[in-house]
């Protein structure tokens, strides 16, 4: 399974903080973005950062592994 996390304004738009999707061999981050982006276009329009296993990633073609944790995040506003 792939664990998906949403925070702050993205979580509000998805109306969910966490979900799981089935891992499939060969799955990439791009596959997940396309899959969830179609279901939640409003939320994904404000996603500015993506982290896989708590590390920010820029390569959307990144291969995923079973039990990965992906976070979709809007611009940060701490401090």
């Amino acid at each position: 399974m792939i664990r998906i996390l949403f925070f702050g304004p993205v979580a509000d738009r998805v109306q969910q903080r966490e979900m799981q999707i089935e891992f499939v061999d060969g799955m990439t981050l791009h596959d997940v973005i396309v899959h969830l982006g179609m279901q939640h276009p409003g939320a994904f329009s404000i996603v500015s950062f993506i982290a896989v296993n708590q590390n920010q990633v820029h390569d959307k073609q990144m291969a995923l592994h079973d039990n990965d944790e992906i976070a979709f995040m809007a611009k940060f506003s701490g401090g």
Binding site: G8, A51, A71, G79
Partner: protein, 141 residues
């Protein structure tokens, strides 16, 4: 002694953080601090409360990276970063940063760099609660 980098609900004591810094080295010649606190007015609206949310494990890891980078980049003797994640009211403390160096220039530069980088890199979000409703804050430069 408390950890030098923390995310917590509770308020913090600036005196305790500075005392912890000073106890780490007798070579410290200057400590620069930044205290971020909650305002009661933002973007033309009264603000009654500010609610924080964090991706806790990543935020803490990123804050530790920031501390390590600042120590290396500015030759600091020590540094501390504490961020509250809770709901605060006007005047309440939000974030505290302290940078200790042999001389003031490095301490000032590191303190400014740390808060600027924290705002860019640490996954924390704030929501302002106003009489008109709630709104997530768009980052300020």
């Amino acid at each position: 002694m408390s950890e030098p980098v923390r995310i917590q609900q509770a308020d913090f004591s600036q005196d305790a953080e500075i005392a912890a810094l000073k106890s780490s080295s007798k070579r410290i010649g200057g400590i620069a601090t930044f205290l971020g606190c909650a305002r009661d007015f933002s973007e033309g609206r009264d603000v009654s409360e500010i609610s924080f949310e964090a991706y806790g494990s990543m935020a803490l890891a990123e804050m530790n990276k920031l501390r390590n980078e600042a120590i290396a980049k500015f030759s600091l003797l020590d540094a501390r970063i504490v961020h509250r994640v809770t709901t605060v009211r006007a005047g309440d403390n939000i974030v505290f940063i302290a940078a200790a160096a042999e001389h003031r220039a490095a301490a000032f530069d590191a303190c400014r760099w740390l808060i600027d980088e924290l705002k860019q890199r640490v996954p924390i979000w704030k929501k302002e609660i106003t009489p008109q409703g709630e709104a997530w804050v768009t980052p300020h430069p």
